[in-house]
C-alpha cells in the first residue's frame, strides 16, 4: 500500500504549478473583473501544453481521460487519469476559471476520449470540445432533455437549445446530448460532436456569473443543424437494457477531474489563509485540537477535509487507470472535494475577516469560483443520489 504520488509525475506537476503561479495567478483578478474578455495569455500556454503533453504521462485538462501507460514490471498502473488529476489540481491552484479556458482541454474532450471510437479519436484529436447537456428546462435530470436528433440519410439533424455550455463560445466543437426518440427515454439519448461553423448552430448568449468569470458560459441554439452520422459518439443503437450507461460513463472519468479542480482551489485557499494567520497560529500537528485556538482548529479540520478529498480523488483516478469500475468512488470524491472546498473557502474568508472579503486578496474569489464545483458535472445532491442508490441497491424510480 502506498498513497504517495509516484515520482514520474513530479516533472509534469511542477510544470503545471509553475504555470499556475506565473501565468494564472498574475491575471487571475484581471479576468475576474473583465468577464467575457478572452484571456489571450492562454494561447501561449496552450502551445506550451501540447509540447508538455507529447512527452508526458497525461494531458492537462480533460483531454486524455482514458489513456494510460504501461508501467513495466508492475501489474499496477498509474496512468492518464491520475496524471490528469495531478495536473488539474496544480493548475487550479492557480485559477480554476482560467483552467476551464485553456484551448483543447475541455470536458467535451474528456467525453470524446472516454466514449469515442478510434476513428473519431483521431479525427477530433485537435478540436477544443465543450460539453452541452443542460437545457433551459432540464438540469440535473439529464434524461429529460428535449433536444432531438433525427436521422436523415447519413446525417443527424439536431434541434433544441443548450445552456451553461462551458467554453461554449471559444471552443471549436461541442459534444451535444440529444435524444433519438423521446418516447423511449434514457436509452435513446446519444452524444454528437458538432463542429463550430456548422450551419444551424448559433451561440446566442453568454451568462454573467457568480464566479469562474474567466470562463465563458454560453447558450447555444440548434436549428435544423446537420452533422455527419459518424459524429455520433458510441453506439448508434438504442439499447434499452444498457439505458443511460453509455453517455453516463463519461462522468466516471470527468468527476475526478472536477474534484481535482476543487482540490486545487482548496490548496490555494488554505495556503493563503495560513500565510495570513501565521503570526496567530502554530500548527504543530501535535497539540490536541481542543487545546489550540479556534481558528487553528478550523484550519486543521479544513486541511483534513482537503487531504481526504485529494486522496479520494487519486483513488478514483487510480481505479479508472486500472480498469476497476469507479462510478461510486468518482461520485464520492466529487461530493467530498466540492462541498468541503466551498465550505472551506467561505470559512477562510471569515478567518481572515474584512481582508478575506476584500479584493485585496483572492480568497473571496476562490469562494465564488468554488461554488460551481459543487454544481456542475452533477450537483452535490446528484452525487448523493448516485452514492445512495449504489449502497442501497435502488433504481432511480425507487429512490427519486
Amino acid at each position: 500500500m502506498n498513497l504517495e504520488i509516484p515520482k514520474k509525475f513530479n516533472g509534469v506537476a511542477q510544470m503545471a504549478t509553475i504555470a499556475a503561479k506565473n501565468i494564472f495567478r498574475p491575471i487571475s483578478r484581471k479576468y475576474d473583473l473583465e468577464e467575457h474578455a478572452y484571456p489571450k495569455e492562454l494561447d501561449l500556454l496552450a502551445a506550451g501544453l501540447n509540447g508538455l503533453n507529447d512527452g508526458s504521462e497525461g494531458a492537462i485538462g480533460g483531454a486524455s481521460g482514458k489513456s494510460d501507460t504501461n508501467d513495466a514490471n508492475s501489474s499496477v498502473k498509474n496512468g492518464g487519469n491520475m496524471a490528469n488529476c495531478i495536473n488539474i489540481q496544480a493548475m487550479c491552484y492557480g485559477d480554476v476559471g482560467l483552467l476551464l479556458s485553456i484551448p483543447r482541454q475541455g470536458l467535451g474532450n474528456a467525453a470524446i476520449s472516454a466514449v469515442a471510437n478510434k476513428e473519431q479519436k483521431e479525427r477530433f484529436a485537435e478540436v477544443w470540445a465543450a460539453m452541452a447537456i443542460t437545457e433551459p428546462n432540464c438540469g440535473s435530470d439529464s434524461s429529460a432533455i428535449t433536444t432531438t436528433a433525427r436521422k436523415e440519410g447519413d446525417e443527424y439533424v439536431l434541434n433544441g437549445e443548450k445552456i451553461f455550455v462551458t467554453a461554449g463560445e471559444r471552443c471549436n466543437a461541442v459534444v451535444v446530448w440529444a435524444t433519438l426518440d423521446k418516447s423511449i427515454g434514457k436509452a435513446a439519448i446519444k452524444s454528437f460532436v458538432v463542429e463550430k461553423g456548422t450551419p444551424g448552430m448559433e451561440v446566442v448568449r453568454l451568462e454573467k456569473k457568480l464566479g469562474i468569470k474567466a470562463s465563458d458560459t454560453a447558450a447555444i441554439v440548434f436549428t435544423e443543424c446537420r452533422v455527419p452520422a459518424a459524429n455520433l459518439l458510441g453506439s448508434p443503437d438504442i439499447d434499452v437494457k444498457k439505458g443511460f450507461g453509455g453517455v453516463m460513463e463519461t462522468f466516471d472519468n470527468t468527476r475526478p477531474f472536477v474534484a481535482s479542480m476543487a482540490n486545487g482551489v482548496a490548496e490555494a485557499t488554505l495556503e493563503r489563509t495560513k500565510e495570513l494567520l501565521k503570526n496567530e497560529i502554530s500548527l504543530d500537528y501535535k497539540t490536541p485540537i481542543n487545546n489550540v485556538r479556534a481558528a487553528e482548529a478550523e484550519l486543521y479540520r479544513m486541511e483534513a477535509d482537503y487531504e481526504a478529498a485529494r486522496l479520494l480523488t487519486l483513488k478514483a483516478a487510480w481505479m479508472a487507470d486500472n480498469r476497476i469500475p469507479n462510478t461510486l468512488e468518482a461520485s464520492v470524491c466529487k461530493a467530498k472535494a466540492a462541498r468541503t472546498t466551498n465550505a472551506s473557502a467561505l470559512k477562510c474568508i471569515e478567518l481572515c475577516g474584512a481582508l478575506g472579503y476584500s479584493y485585496k486578496e483572492l480568497i473571496e474569489k476562490w469562494a465564488r469560483d468554488s461554488k460551481i464545483l459543487d454544481i456542475f458535472e452533477g450537483t452535490q445532491q446528484i452525487q448523493q443520489l448516485i452514492i445512495a442508490r449504489r449502497l442501497l441497491n435502488k433504481t432511480s424510480s425507487e429512490l427519486k
Binding site: I5, N291, A388, L391, L392, K394
Partner: protein, 442 residues
C-alpha cells in the same frame, strides 16, 4: 532484518531447527489459511528463554546488553500509488473477519456483563496474531514491518465489536511498542512470553482524568532517584486492567519530557480500581493509581534516553483511527439493511432522500476516514515522517466517527435507542475515539 520483500512470509520461514515454533500456531485459523501446517514437522519446539527477572513488588529490572534490539526495517514500496493489500494481508483480514463475526454475536451480552468470555479470549489467542507482528529473531514469523497488517486487524476486530477489540488487542499493542522501541533486554525477556501457553497480558496507560487532557502535558510524574524513577499519578480507562500483569505507563519527567515506564500490576504503590464509562464496557475498564511507585531505570521503555514519545502518541491515535473505521463500517452496513427493510408510509424508508442522503454522507465520510488512516499508516510503514498525516487522520476520524455513530442511532429512530439493536452501543463506543490513547498502538 533481512528484506526479501517479494516472498510471502511463510515462504520466508527459515527451515533451520533453531526456529522457535509452537504446534499451537499451526492450528490457528490464520496459520491454516497460510498453509503453515505443511511446514509443521520441520520445526522443533524449543521453549522460551528465561522469564522476566522480576522481584515481586520491586518491578522489572532488565539486564543491560551489548546486543542491539531487533527492529523491522522500513518497507520500501515500488514507486506506485497503490491501494491494493497484499495477498497475505487479504488472507489475514478474512481470518480475523471470521472471528469478528463471533465478536459481533457476543457483543451485546458482553457489554451488559462488562466482560469478555473465556471462549472469546481463547478464540482470540488461537488466532496467534503475535506471530504476525514479531520479527523472526524474537520468535515471530514476520520479516518486515507491516503496520498496514496491524491496521487491518484492528479495523476488522472493531467491525465485530469495538469494546472487545480494545481489550483483546491490548497485549498486541504492547508487542508493537516493544518491537519498535524496546531495548534488547526488554525485547528478549518480554516478547517470548507472548508465545507461551499461559499468555502475558499487558496494557498501555496514557489517559488521565483532567478535562482538556493533553498527552504532552501529563500530570503523572516520574522523578529520578538514584537508579529508579518514582511514579505518581492516576491513569484511567485501561482495558482489562485487573488482568494485566504489567503496564506501560506514560509519565512526565522533571525536564518536561514524556516517557513510558513498565510497571508491574502487583508492585508496591500500584492500586487498580474498577472504572466504568459510557461505552467500551466489555473491555473491563480500570483506573490505575500510582503512589510513589519505584521503577528501575532499565524499565523505562526503549534504549538509553527513552523513545520518541510524539511518534508513540501518533501510533496510538492511528490505532484508534483504525478502530473507528471498522466500527463505522459496521454502522454503515447495519443501517443500509435496516433502512431497506423498515417500511413506513407504504415503502422502505430508504426510498426517501432524507434517509438515503444521510447514508450517502456516512459513506463519503467513512471513505475519508479510511483513506487518511491508510495514508498515515503507509507513511509510517515506509519510515517517512507521518506526523502530519496521522494528526489529520485523527482529526477526521474524531469528528466523523461520532457523526456516523450518532446518525446510526438517528436512522433507526426509537429502535436505535433501545438495547435490542446494536447502534446505541456503537454510539457509546464511538464517543471514545477522539479521546482515547490507551492500549492501542500500531
Amino acid at each position: 532484518m533481512k528484506n526479501e520483500s517479494k516472498k510471502s512470509f511463510w515462504q520466508k520461514l527459515p527451515l533451520d531447527d533453531y526456529f522457535v515454533f509452537y504446534n499451537k500456531v499451526l492450528d490457528a485459523p490464520i496459520a491454516q489459511r497460510l498453509k503453515l501446517r505443511e511446514l509443521s514437522e520441520k520445526f522443533i519446539y524449543q521453549g522460551t528463554k528465561n522469564g522476566i527477572k522480576a522481584g515481586k513488588s520491586l518491578g522489572k529490572i532488565f539486564q543491560s546488553s551489548a546486543k542491539s534490539p531487533d527492529r523491522f526495517s522500513n518497507k520500501i514500496p515500488d514507486d506506485f500509488f497503490d491501494l491494493n493489500y497484499t495477498d497475505d494481508q487479504t488472507l489475514i483480514q478474512e481470518s480475523v473477519k471470521e472471528f469478528a463475526v463471533a465478536l459481533r454475536a457476543a457483543a451485546q451480552e458482553q457489554d451488559e456483563k462488562k466482560e469478555i468470555s473465556d471462549e472469546i479470549w481463547n478464540a482470540y489467542n488461537d488466532l496467534q496474531l503475535a506471530y504476525l507482528q514479531t520479527p523472526e529473531a524474537l520468535g515471530g514469523l514476520s520479516n518486515e514491518k507491516s503496520i498496514t497488517t496491524q491496521m487491518l486487524i484492528l479495523e476488522t476486530l472493531a467491525y465485530g465489536d469495538l469494546g472487545q477489540a480494545y481489550s483483546l488487542y491490548s497485549s498486541n499493542a504492547v508487542i508493537n511498542a516493544l518491537v519498535e522501541y524496546g531495548s534488547e533486554a526488554q525485547q528478549t525477556e518480554l516478547i517470548p512470553e507472548y508465545f507461551k501457553e499461559e499468555k502475558l497480558y499487558a496494557g498501555i496507560a496514557i489517559n488521565e482524568l483532567q478535562p482538556l487532557f493533553n498527552p504532552y502535558q501529563l500530570t503523572t510524574t516520574a522523578i529520578i532517584e538514584d537508579e529508579h524513577f518514582i511514579l505518581n499519578g492516576t491513569k484511567t480507562l485501561i482495558p482489562f486492567g485487573k488482568k494485566c500483569q504489567y503496564f506501560l505507563i506514560a509519565a512526565q519527567l522533571e525536564n518536561g519530557d514524556n516517557q513510558l515506564f513498565m510497571v508491574d500490576a502487583d508492585q508496591d504503590g500500584v492500586t487498580i480500581t474498577d472504572s466504568e464509562a459510557m461505552g467500551l464496557k466489555s473491555a473491563q475498564l480500570s483506573d490505575i493509581i500510582l503512589n510513589n511507585v519505584r521503577v528501575h531505570k532499565s524499565a523505562q521503555l526503549g534504549e538509553a534516553g527513552g523513545i520518541d514519545y510524539h511518534r508513540f502518541i501518533q501510533m496510538a491515535k492511528l490505532g484508534w483511527c483504525a478502530l473507528a473505521v471498522g466500527a463505522c463500517q459496521a454502522v454503515l452496513d447495519y443501517v443500509i439493511s435496516y433502512a431497506n427493510d423498515r417500511v413506513a408510509f407504504g415503502e422502505p424508508i430508504s426510498n426517501r432522500q432524507a434517509v438515503a442522503f444521510m447514508i450517502a454522507d456516512m459513506k463519503i465520510e467513512l471513505d475519508a476516514m479510511r483513506i487518511l488512516t491508510q495514508r498515515a499508516v503507509a507513511q509510517a510503514e515506509q519510515g517517512i515522517d507521518f506526523m502530519r498525516a496521522a494528526y489529520l487522520a485523527h482529526v477526521c476520524c474524531s469528528d466523523k466517527s461520532m457523526q456516523i455513530g450518532s446518525n446510526g442511532v438517528q436512522l433507526l429512530g426509537g429502535h436505535g435507542y433501545i438495547k435490542d439493536f446494536p447502534v446505541e452501543r456503537w454510539y457509546r463506543d464511538l464517543r471514545a475515539v477522539s479521546i482515547m490513547y490507551n492500549s492501542i498502538h500500531l
